[in-house]
Every structure is written in C-alpha cells, then in structure tokens.
C-alpha cells in the first residue's frame, strides 16, 4: 500500500525546517562571534551555578592579587624605612664607640639631633595615604617633631631630677651615679607607656592586618610604638639633649654607654621587625603565585564549561548554512513538482 502524502504537509516540511535552521544559525553566529555559549542557562543547566561560582572565584583571585599589591607596596615602604633606621643606628653606634675611646663628644649632639629627625621622618613614612607606622591609627602622623612636645618633656624631667636646666653651667656637677639613676629611671620612662604616647607618638600599638588570600590574614605593618623605636629615640635624645658636652668625663661615659646599649637593643629589635614584615612579604608572594596557578586552572575550567570551541562552532555554522540552502532549493523543487504544470489545457 502506498502512503498518501498530503500536499500541505509536503510543503510544510521544508518550511518548518527553514524556521528551525534559522534559529540554530542565529545561535551559532553568536557563539562564533563571542566565543561563548549563546544560551548558558539552557546549555549548562545544573552546571550554571558552577560556572558562575568559577567566574566569581577567578575575578576574586585577581582582585585579591591587586589588593595584595597595595599591601606589598606599604610593606616595602616599611622595610625601606626600617633599613634606613637600622643603618642610622649603626652609624650612631660607630660614632659613640669612637667618642668613647677619644673622649671627644663635641660633634655628637648635632649628629644625634639629625639622626633623631631622620628617625622621625622615617617613622612618618606614608604609602597610599596611610602612615605605615601608625598602626590602626593610620591617618594621623605618628611621631611628633622633637621640638613639638618631646623636647619640653625631656627638659621637665631633667629639671625635676637635677634641679637645673640642661643649659645650666652647673651640669658639670652631676655625678655619674645620679646620671645613671636618671637615665634608667625618669629619662627611660619618657620613652615608655603613657608618657611616650603623650609626648612622642600618636600611633596605635595595634599592628594592621589584611586578608592576603581567601583564608589567610597576615600582619601588614609594625607600629611606631615598637620598643625598638622607643629605645632608639631614647639613645638619640640622651646624646642630643642632655648637654653631654658640658658634663663631667665620667658622667659623659655613663651617658655614652647607656646610649650605646639602648642603640644596640634597638638594632636587635629592628632586625626582629624586619623579619616580621619579611615573613608577611614572602607569604604574600607565595599566596600570589598560588592564586595565579589557581586562577589559571579555574579560567581553564570556565573556558571548558562556558566557552565554545571556535573550530566546532564555525563548522556547525557552515553545516547549518549548507542545510538551509538545501531546504531552500527543496522548496523550489517541490513547488515545481506538480501535475498541474504538466497538464495542457
């Protein structure tokens, strides 16, 4: 038995095919031109969320790396300042050792004064608008200039201890023992605790921290209130502002050896601080390179999920075009295939 084909279905088959092919071609065109799935929700289905998560993760990893660059630059600024402070301290120690043996202290006060202001400006280093030694109080200048407070405090302490000012001609009467008591007592107290915060430093003692990878928080700064800086300020001030030139020889030696030991302690402390920051720096470098690897793996994955193989997309497009052309010529042929055309009137 032959199956009859109705004329309307004969015509509708290529017509439907054309509609279908055209919509497929539109999709393939988008895929070829963008390199991405034309309709991710439809093509990925249950993996759409994974695709979104991966894209967000990849963006997030990139973002952490660029925020790490900000942290890195502030760490480098800290390190540079620390290096400067340490080399200053070394210069200072050398000068004192020389003075100890020669007994000539005439140039020391001026040198100590300039080292002190160099220390102040190092501790007031900024990076990206933040004072790197400010602790959490990063928008306030941490260390005051010597003349803006500390000087008065030193003078007051001196006055209280010896009953005279540093400029008094009587200073040569101060004994080595009473100077020693002053240096380890009232004078040392100026560089500690509340007195330090009142006269010298506006910094917060809380070190700052930051997330450097999705799960890793590191210390990103040391503060101007670290004991190393207090010791160093102590050493510089004792030489600069205790009228060392006018003291008796043994008293002079007491001040010198105290300054030397304070500077030595400061140097050790600075090395410790440099190590702390160095660890953070290397942690950032490590997690950056780790995140880079991770990001490239994720990007690969994203390409596999949501990307389109350009060769495949292009050949699909060619196939569809050929098919569409076939459908057109079929429509043409079928329309010619009618008995009516062969009947003569």
């Amino acid at each position: 038995m032959t199956i009859q084909v109705s004329t309307s279905s004969l015509f509708s088959i290529p017509r439907n095919a054309v509609v279908d092919l055209q919509s497929q071609i539109a999709k393939a065109e988008t895929e070829v031109s963008t390199g991405q799935l034309a309709d991710p929700a439809e093509s990925l289905g249950s993996q759409l969320g994974l695709d979104e998560t991966l894209q967000a993760q990849s963006a997030n990893l990139g973002n952490i790396q660029s925020s790490n660059a900000i942290v890195q630059s502030s760490l480098s600024a800290s390190q540079e300042a620390l290096t400067q402070i340490a080399s200053d301290a070394q210069t200072f120690e050398n000068a004192i050792v020389t003075a100890q043996s020669s007994g000539d202290v005439s140039t020391l006060p001026a040198q100590a004064q300039s080292l002190l202001s160099s220390l102040t400006s190092s501790l007031n280093t900024t990076s990206g608008g933040a004072y790197v030694f400010g602790g959490t109080n990063s928008t306030v200048k941490p260390i005051a200039d010597y003349s803006q407070g500390p000087q008065a405090a030193t003078a007051a302490a001196f006055q209280t201890a010896f009953g005279m000012s540093q400029s008094s001609p009587q200073v040569n009467t101060i004994s080595a023992a009473s100077m020693q008591t002053f240096l380890t007592g009232a004078f040392a107290n100026l560089f500690q605790g509340a007195s330090w915060s009142t006269n010298w430093s506006q910094a917060s003692s809380t070190r700052t921290s930051a997330l450097i990878s999705p799960a890793n928080v590191v210390t990103t700064s040391v503060t101007a209130n670290e004991s190393a800086f207090q010791d160093l300020a102590n050493a510089y001030t004792s030489i600069a502002d205790l009228a060392i030139g006018n003291l008796g020889a043994t008293t002079q030696q007491a001040v010198l050896s105290n300054a030397l030991s304070e500077a030595g302690a400061a140097q050790q402390g600075i090395t410790g601080l440099q190590t702390t920051l160095g660890i953070s720096q290397s942690q950032i470098t490590n997690s950056n390179s780790q995140m880079q690897t991770q990001a490239s793996l994720i990007d690969n994955w994203v390409t596999k999920l949501g990307g389109v193989d350009s060769y495949q997309a292009a050949s699909t497009l060619t196939n569809l075009t050929t098919q569409l052309e076939t459908a057109y010529s079929l429509t043409d042929r079928i329309s010619k295939l009618s008995l009516v055309n062969y009947l003569t009137a």
């Binding site: 929700a41 289905g45 249950s46 933040a130």
Partner: protein, 481 residues
C-alpha cells in the same frame, strides 16, 4: 445521462478538495458512488478521517502548548541571571563584586573611596535583588493575565462548539455534514492547546468534551469555565484557581487538576516555578542581612543583634534563621547610615551601621582609627561561611550565601534546560502528529488532478455516447422521412 451527472458530481467533490487544499483543517472529501438498478448514482459524500491520529494530535497540542508556556516564562526569569556576555547582573556575580570591593577596601582601609566603592557594590547587589524580584512577580502577573485570556478563549471555543455540534446532531440522515465535522475538529484542536482534553463520541455524531482530569467541559451544553485574575503580584500573593463546571481544575495536588495545555503550563509557572525562584531570591537577601548583622560588642553583651549594611526596608530586626521571609528580596536595601549620600560609608569598617556609630554596636575599639581591618576581614569571611537556609526553597540548606546564589542559578539553569528540551520534544511530537493526520486526511493535489483527468474522460465518454446516440437517431429519422 446517469454517467454525466455522476461524473459532474464527482468533479464537484474533486474541486472542493482542490479548493480546500491549503486549508489545514479541511479533510479530503470522498464521493461515494453506488450502482442502483445498474446505474451509478452519488449516494453520499464522506470525509477521510482518523480518530486515533486526531486524538494523538489533541494530546500533542496540549503538551506542546504547556511546555512552550513554561519555556517562554523561564526565558524571562533567566534575564535575572544576565546573559553570557554580561553576567555581571546575576545575584552570584553581584555578591562576588561586593566581596571584591570589600577586599580592596580592606587592603587600604584609610581610603574613603574604597568605602564608597564597597557601599556602592552593596547597593548594586540590593538593587539587583529588587529588580530580580520584580521580574519574577511580573512573570507571575503575566502568566495570570494569559490564564485569564486563555479562559476567555476556552469559553468562546466551547460556545462555537455548541453551535457546530448542534448542527451536526440535528442534520437529517444522509446530509453532507463533512464540512461541519471539519469545523468541529478544528475547534477541538484550538481547545486542546488551551487545556488538555479527551472526547467521547455519542450516538448521532454527538460529541462530549472532558478535561484530561475528567471534568466535563461540554456535554450537550458548554460548562462555564471561570477565573478571576489578580491585579498586583507580590511574593505573598497566591493566584486564583480556574474552575470548570464549578470544580477547581488548576488547584495544586487536586486529583481534578489538568495535566496539559497552556493553562497547565501557566499555572505551574505562576504557582510553582516562579514562587520557588522568588523564595531563593528571598533567601539570598536574608543570608546577606544575616552575614552583615551587627552584634553587641560590650564585654557582656545584652543587646540583640541588629541588621547592619543590609536591612529589610530599614528595619533593624535580623530575620529568624533558616526560614524564608516572603518578599525580602523586593525590600532589601542598604542602610541609610552608611550610604555615601546620606551617611558615613566608613561605618562599614568601624561597625555601628545599625546604631549610626553609637555603642555597643561599634567594632573598632578606637573608632575613627583608619587602619582597623578586623571587622572588614570578618565580613569578607562571613560571606563564605555556611548559613542555614530554608529547605522549601530547593537550593540547599547549609551553605554560604555566595554558594547559595550560585546553586539558585543552577536550579534555574536546570529548569530552563529541562523546559527547553521538553518544549522542543513536544514540538516535534506535535509536528509529527500533525503531519500524520494531514497525510491521512488531507488532500494530495496530484492525486486530485489525476482523478480529475479520469473523471474528465468518463464525462467525455458519456458525452460522446450521447452524440453517437444522437447521430444514430438523426440518421434513423432521416431514413424515415
């Protein structure tokens, strides 16, 4: 003479067929010729029909209309996820952008521009959720409106059906009712797109229609199908059911609910798919409010937690854990106290958004110290900490808000791809059924033309016979004269 009249009657049937060739609903008419007393006569005209194929087509129509209604609506919902080239507007991508902004701010907490950028990212996220929620409710509202127009169509088709069916039933025996039957079939096809139906043929060509769940739509008279549409949809709105013959045919989990047709598709979008997706958006919003809530920071906390960066329309209450708050995605907003235009964005770093910078909700031990990052670190971490989500939203129960947003996208993606597959499958089934029915009952032009040639020849032969007889008589009469 009988030959001539039969041939011309047959030719008229053929020309009817040819004329109706382009009418998809017209069937092929067949002239039934019988021999009475040795002479051919046209006894009746019948039509090519195939009840089984018609029933196939009716059910395929229902399936196709249902799936394409679902697929179309889901495509609209998909807009909330952004497109492939611009996927920055999906909730998951916006949460990612907020995380990034917080991280950048955390790396330079003294930078007020970073604070503003983070708050702006939060506002984008809140706006994104608001507009996604609006889209979902618009989809429901549209579905509701289309249900109303679908019910109108059903009622008008049923009343036309009554006229046609009455004409068929009341036709005298032997009359040509084929055109009326074609008309009735085409009305059935129209009806089957709106609602899944079954038909029963009675004596005298009478037909009754039932929904695929068994509720009477037409039996001698049409039953009224009623529906009252809802004007404004919000997450808490429930759409009305459609009633046929006084029985709800779209109520969920009712045994009398229809299974196919545009109505079934639209109702499942309005009452099921869009509702679930709204719940997921609401849960994302609730997760965000929870992640950014502020707790009492005193040594011995006594105050309850308050909503921080994100609030439910400005309320300080933190929603109860693990339960959907209907419509939260539509009302979530960024607290005014942290908005750069009305408040202080640095509260994001220091805490105290809920109390406008007053204790005990301030986290920064020395408020105003710009290097403080602990609260920001905590907020970033919170976004990846698991929370309890409502199981009824079908997108997971214990996961972070970031992952929850992604799994909501997965849920929608799954539905979209299922609907698209189902729609293209049901379209294929429908087109196959339609082709099969058209082949079985439709007209083939070539066939009709060749039949026409055959009839032409038989007409010519009859006519030739007449002229021959005529000439015989002429010569006979001439001989007589």
């Amino acid at each position: 003479m009988a030959g001539l009249s039969v041939a011309s009657a047959q030719i008229s049937v053929v020309s009817r067929n040819i004329a109706n060739q382009s009418n998809a609903n017209a069937s092929r008419k067949i002239a039934n010729v019988v021999t009475v007393n040795g002479l051919p006569t046209l006894a009746s005209v019948s039509r090519a029909s195939d009840d089984a194929l018609l029933k196939n087509l009716l059910s395929a129509n229902g399936g196709q209309a249902q799936q394409s209604a679902i697929s179309d609506s889901l495509t609209q919902l998909e807009a909330t996820l952004g497109t492939s080239t611009d996927d920055s507007s999906s909730p998951a991508a916006l949460i990612g952008a907020l995380t990034n902004a917080l991280q950048t701010y955390e790396a330079a907490p003294q930078n007020i521009a970073g604070a503003q950028a983070a708050v702006t990212a939060a506002q984008d996220l809140a706006n994104g959720l608001n507009s996604a929620s609006t889209t979902v409710q618009n989809v429901r509202e549209q579905a509701d409106a289309v249900i109303a127009s679908s019910v109108d169509t059903i009622n008008s088709v049923l009343s036309q059906f009554q006229q046609v069916n009455d004409s068929i039933v009341n036709s005298p025996q032997g009359a040509d009712i084929t055109d009326l039957q074609d008309q009735r079939d085409s009305l059935l096809q129209k009806l089957s797109s709106e609602v899944g139906i079954t038909t029963v043929m009675r004596a005298n060509n009478d037909m009754a229609i039932f929904t695929d769940s068994g509720v009477t739509l037409f039996d001698k008279t049409p039953r009224s199908v009623t529906f009252s549409s809802t004007a404004n949809f919000s997450a808490a709105t429930q759409g009305q059911a459609v009633y046929a013959d006084g029985v709800p045919i779209t109520a969920q989990s009712s045994p009398l609910s229809i299974h196919a047709g545009r109505l079934a598709g639209l109702v499942s979008v309005r009452d099921n798919l869009a509702v679930t997706y709204q719940k997921q958006l609401d849960e994302v919003a609730r997760g965000l409010i929870t992640d950014f809530q502020e707790t009492d920071q005193s040594a011995t906390p006594t105050q309850p937690a308050q909503a921080g960066l994100f609030t439910n329309g400005g309320s300080l209450t933190v929603p109860a854990t693990g339960a959907v708050v209907p419509g939260l995605a539509a009302t979530i907003q960024v607290a005014a106290s942290v908005d750069p235009s009305t408040g202080n964005p640095e509260l994001l770093r220091d805490g105290g958004i809920s109390s406008n910078g007053a204790a005990p909700y301030v986290y920064n031990p020395t408020p105003g110290q710009a290097g403080y990052t602990a609260r920001l670190t905590q907020l970033i971490t919170n976004l990846s900490q698991p929370l309890a989500f409502d199981a009824s939203a079908s997108a997971g129960t214990q996961t972070s808000v970031t992952n929850y947003a992604a799994s909501s996208a997965s849920w929608l993606g799954t539905k979209v791809s299922q609907a698209s597959t189902a729609a293209s499958y049901s379209t294929a089934v429908q087109s196959t059924s339609s082709t099969a029915l058209s082949n079985a009952t439709g007209v083939n032009l070539d066939n009709e033309m060749s039949k026409m040639l055959e009839l032409e020849q038989s007409y010519q032969a009859s006519a030739k016979l007449l002229t021959s007889v005529n000439s015989l008589y002429t010569s006979l009469f001439a001989a007589i004269q």
